[in-house]
C-alpha cells in the first residue's frame, strides 16, 4: 500500500485534520506522500492543481495504490472518473448536516469515510464507512499554566462559530457570570450574532483562531463549553432553515470533543447527541442538555463541590482520548478497512 494525500482547497480549516492524518501515517509507518504542490494551491488555479495531482497519482514509478482526499467537497468529477488502478479514499470533514454525502460522486469513490455515524449506518450507501472526528496528541497537549499569557486564561471559554442555539445557551448564563464575577471568553466566528446580543461584551477574539492558539485557550480555561450545533439551522439558506434536516439524525461529536480532553482541559459537553454519553463517562466530563442544566453544572464545577474535581476528571478524559480517540487510532481503523479484501 502506498498513499498519495491531498487536502481540500479550504486548506485553513482543515489544517489540523490534515496535520493529524499526516502525523498518524508517519507514526504508524504507513507508506505515503503528500501532494507536492500542496503549498502552491492558493497561487495556482484549482483545475491546474487537480491536473497535476492526477498526473502525480498515476505515475508508475511512484507506485501509488490509493489517493487520500481530506475534505473532498471540491474534487472535480472528471478526476474521480479517471483514477484507473488507484483506489480513492475521501475523509469527509464538512458538516454532514449541511452538505449531502456527495451522492452523485459516491459511485466513483471507493471508500468514503463520514464523520456522522447515522450516515454510515443508514444502509443507503455501500462504500460509506464511519470514521469519527478525532484529536491529535501531536497538536494538542497540556501546557504549563505559568507559561501561558494572561489573555488565554478564563473561567469559562466558548470557542467556535456562534450558531443561534449556542447564542441562546450562552446568553442564559450571563446573569450567573455577572453575579459571581467570572471571566467568560467567546472566541471564534461571531458573524451570525445579532448586533443587540448581550454576548458582544464577552467576545474576546473573533478571528479564525489558529490551532496552536486554540490549544492555549483550552489550557487556560477552567471550563471549556462544547455546545453542539443545531442541525435545523443553516446560514446559507434564505429562511435560515436547513433543507437537509431530518435526513440523518445527529449522533456524532465534533472534533472539539476530542481536542479539549487531549489538552487535559475540563470540558462541559452537551449531551443531546447519543455519542456524548457513549464515549465519555460522568467521571470524565460534565454534561448538560439545556439552559438549566448548564447553569447547574457551571455552578457545581466552578463555585461548588466540583471545584476540586476538574483536574482529575480532565485527566481521566485525557487518558481515554489519548488511548483510543486520536488520529492514529482512526488511521488504524482506515488501514484495516483498506486492507480487507473487497466483498
Amino acid at each position: 500500500m502506498k498513499i498519495l494525500v491531498v487536502s481540500d482547497v479550504t486548506a485553513f480549516a482543515l489544517t489540523d485534520i490534515y496535520a493529524g492524518y499526516i502525523h498518524a501515517m508517519s507514526q504508524l509507518k504507513i507508506p505515503f506522500e503528500v501532494f507536492s504542490w500542496h503549498r502552491e494551491r492558493r497561487r495556482l488555479a484549482d483545475d491546474t492543481c487537480w491536473h497535476i495531482f492526477h498526473s502525480e497519482a498515476l505515475l508508475k514509478c511512484k507506485e501509488f495504490t490509493h489517493v487520500f482526499f481530506i475534505g473532498g467537497l471540491s474534487i472535480p468529477q472528471f478526476l474521480l472518473e479517471s483514477f484507473y488502478h488507484v483506489k480513492t479514499i475521501t475523509i469527509a470533514t464538512e458538516d454532514p448536516h449541511t452538505w449531502t454525502p456527495q451522492e452523485p460522486k459516491l459511485q466513483n469513490i471507493d471508500y468514503y469515510f463520514t464523520n456522522e455515524r447515522s450516515i454510515a449506518r443508514c444502509g443507503l450507501y455501500k462504500n460509506v464507512y464511519y470514521c469519527p472526528t478525532a484529536g491529535s496528541t501531536q497538536e494538542c497537549s497540556k501546557l504549563p499554566l505559568d507559561a501561558l499569557e494572561d489573555r488565554y486564561k478564563s473561567d469559562i471559554l466558548f470557542l467556535g462559530a456562534m450558531y443561534p442555539n449556542r447564542r441562546k445557551l450562552l446568553e442564559s448564563i450571563i446573569p450567573f457570570v455577572k453575579k459571581h464575577k467570572l471571566t467568560m471568553k467567546i472566541c471564534g466566528h461571531v458573524q451570525y450574532m445579532p448586533k443587540n446580543s448581550p454576548l458582544w461584551e464577552y467576545v474576546f477574539d473573533s478571528r479564525t483562531i489558529p490551532h496552536m492558539e486554540t490549544v492555549k485557550y483550552y489550557n487556560g480555561a477552567k471550563v471549556v463549553l462544547n455546545i453542539l450545533r443545531d442541525i435545523h439551522w443553516n446560514p446559507r439558506t434564505r429562511n435560515q432553515k436547513n433543507p437537509l434536516k431530518g435526513q440523518f439524525p445527529a449522533e456524532s461529536l465534533n472534533p472539539r470533543a476530542y481536542e479539549v480532553p487531549l489538552c487535559q482541559a475540563f470540558m462541559l459537553l452537551e449531551d443531546t447527541r447519543p455519542e456524548a454519553r457513549e464515549i465519555y463517562g460522568k467521571d470524565e466530563v460534565g454534561f448538560f442538555s439545556d439552559e438549566d442544566s448548564l447553569r447547574r453544572q457551571l455552578r457545581y464545577y466552578l463555585i461548588g463541590k466540583g471545584n476540586g474535581l476538574r483536574d482529575e476528571m480532565a485527566f481521566r478524559a485525557y487518558k481515554k482520548a489519548a488511548e483510543a480517540l486520536t488520529y492514529n487510532h482512526r488511521m488504524l481503523l482506515i488501514r484495516d478497512i483498506l486492507e480487507k479484501p473487497p466483498v
Binding site: Q27, T137, F315, N328
Partner: protein, 129 residues
C-alpha cells in the same frame, strides 16, 4: 494492560521503577557501573529482567505519575517498552533528558506514557514499532 496515575512517595527520585513478580523492585539508574557487562553504562536497563516484570512505574520528583501493569498472558518480555527522549547540550556534551517513557507493544503499536522532565506533564501517545 492498564496505565494509571499514581500516588506520592517520599524521596526526590525521578525515573522509572521496575516491579518484579517476587515483590522486588529495581529503580532506573543513570551513569551506572554494570558488573554484568564490566563497564560504565548510561543506564542500568540491561540489568532489568524483563521476564519477571509485572509493572513499570514512572516517578517524577518522588511523585508516582503513571503505571503500566502486565496484562494476563499472552504477553512476552519483548512487549515491555521503556526509553528516554533527550538532546545533547553542545557545550557540556551532556545528555539532557526531555521525557521519560514507559509502555507496551501490542499489535505492532507502541502505547507510550511519557512524563516531561521539566514540568511533570503526562503525555500518552502511540506509534508503530
Amino acid at each position: 494492560m492498564s496505565q494509571s496515575a499514581g500516588s506520592t512517595t517520599n524521596s526526590d527520585y525521578t525515573g522509572f521503577i521496575a516491579h518484579y513478580d517476587n515483590g522486588r523492585s529495581i529503580k532506573e539508574r543513570e551513569n551506572f557501573y554494570s558488573s554484568k557487562l564490566k563497564k560504565k553504562c548510561a543506564t542500568n536497563w540491561q540489568e532489568i529482567d524483563r521476564t519477571r516484570l509485572v509493572a513499570l512505574e514512572l516517578v517524577w520528583h518522588g511523585q508516582s505519575k503513571a503505571t503500566v501493569q502486565k496484562p494476563p498472558d499472552p504477553f512476552t518480555p519483548d512487549q515491555w517498552f521503556f526509553s528516554h527522549s533527550g538532546c545533547m547540550n553542545m557545550n557540556s556534551r551532556k545528555i539532557i533528558v526531555v521525557s521519560r517513557n514507559i509502555g507496551y507493544v501490542k499489535d505492532g503499536i507502541v502505547h507510550i506514557t511519557s512524563v516531561m522532565e521539566d514540568t511533570g506533564i503526562i503525555r500518552i501517545w502511540t506509534r508503530a514499532v
